[in-house]
Symmetry: C2
Subunit: 186 residues, 2 copies
């Protein structure tokens, strides 16, 4: 039999909604909703789950990722682990969902900025940028990711790789989106 915590986490992961009391009872082996109700009181105090203004069950500390500190600090003991902050990567990385897109990077023109061939970038369309921002831009009809620079009031793009040259627009340079994050999955 699963613990209540495991059951809720598993269910939420799988169904993208919180389980009902009956469903929790079924998963954990409880034979009454009331037992679940009392068990949940504890988890609510603990912050593992919450109830919103309408009394509906919502996730508390059951976001998928546990956030630790520096690598040098190593891993916590199982007891400390329970107390780790949790986080959703979606919430961490996305500010404006309507404007956020994921794109794949080809080539090594930004390697010195830590953006490698095949990396995914999270970009925000219409996001704020300034000189030095990494942007997705359309220069004379071609789309690229580069540093945005300015010289004598004119904008141009600069790669992060010695072997490539800066790109000075002949006709047009339109900044379409700003790179907000880089994600590389192994």
């Amino acid at each position: 039999m699963r613990t209540v915590k495991q059951a809720i986490a598993y269910f939420y992961d799988k169904h993208k909604r919180m389980p009902t009391f009956s469903e929790i009872a079924e998963m954990t082996g409880y034979k009454s909703k009331s037992a679940v109700s009392y068990a949940l009181d504890g988890l609510i105090k603990e912050g593992f789950v919450k109830k919103d203004a309408k009394g509906n069950l919502i996730p508390g500390r059951l976001d998928p990722v546990r956030v630790l500190g520096l690598v040098e600090a190593g891993f916590p003991s199982p007891a400390e682990e329970e107390l780790s902050d949790t986080m959703s990567l979606d919430d961490y990385l996305i500010e404006n969902r309507e404007a956020t897109f994921m794109l794949k990077v080809k080539g090594d023109s930004m390697v010195e900025a830590g953006i490698h061939d095949g990396d995914m970038i999270l970009v925000e369309r219409g996001g704020k940028y300034r000189e030095g921002s990494i942007v997705v831009a359309e220069v004379d009809g071609e789309w690229t990711v580069k540093y945005l620079r300015k010289s004598k009031g004119k904008a141009f793009l600069e790669p992060a790789n010695q072997e490539y040259d800066p790109i000075y627009p002949k006709d047009s340079l339109v900044v379409a989106a700003v790179v907000k994050a880089v994600i590389r999955k192994y």
Copy 2:
């Protein structure tokens, strides 16, 4: 007034649960649950939301990130945009939530692998690794992120930076976790 789509997306983002029909009605200006019910029929056909086996509303294509292709392909038109695949970064990056942690990297010993000072790494404790994997390990009491290498049957750690030397364990080398992803937020 918001459209039904906007209302649901907003509500799900904010409350981490799907709204009820009444709540959708309130947000969109509908004055009856039945109108919402019929409106949802369309969105279900479209795949924007779904119903699970028990008839409960669950997210369909309202994951927070729209996935495009290569940077070179640029952005789609608003019409095509509607059809873009969506994704949750949590689902994309996390396989085993129980074993997944996020850590912060200090130093530049892995820059040539595209891991910079201040980057976050997603690691899986007890994950499978082999020679060449980037791992979080404890060597003689010190925690670090490095390439795992082998020489004459003995494991050692190799930085991705010319200026650093490989680390050959005096007493012990324990691989605690495998780096599954690198995340850099600007």
